[in-house]
Symmetry: C2
Subunit: 82 residues, 2 copies
């Protein structure tokens, strides 16, 4: 998609996960709830965030992840195209 | 990865997004915060969840999404391999 001033607008996707070894309480809660619903054989549930956005300059995305989108102390992020 | 009883254990990923037209307050907050950090030209920010898990029977995953992982009233889910 081109903008009126001619810059390209890119749709990007960022996957954010709790770092390995960091406790993931949401994941634990889901894992414990599944057997009560009849779902067995599920393990290692990890819950992160999915961020999708449009931006003019994809080169900014890594800095955006470091400064706002992810918490680099406890989360890893992965930038994927779309 | 095979389990002791011989069943295969599959790693799966589920992407969950707010449905189109549903207000996404997290996304709005991020979109409004970015310019204050010097990031411009960003629009249509949508924030969802990323769920990764291991399970014996991938055929159960859709039912798990409908009943626990996603809220089908306001969220779409996409099951992807890994």
């Amino acid at each position: 998609m081109a903008e009126p001033d001619g810059r390209a607008c890119v749709r990007a996707r960022v996957l954010i996960r709790p770092k390995a070894g960091i406790l993931d309480p949401q994941g634990v809660a889901v894992e414990q709830a599944l057997p009560a619903l009849g779902f067995t054989g599920v393990s290692d549930v990890r819950i992160g965030r999915l961020i999708e956005l449009e931006l003019d300059d994809p080169a900014q995305l890594e800095a955006m992840c470091e400064r706002l989108l992810a918490n680099p102390l406890i989360e890893d992020y992965e930038i994927v195209g779309r």
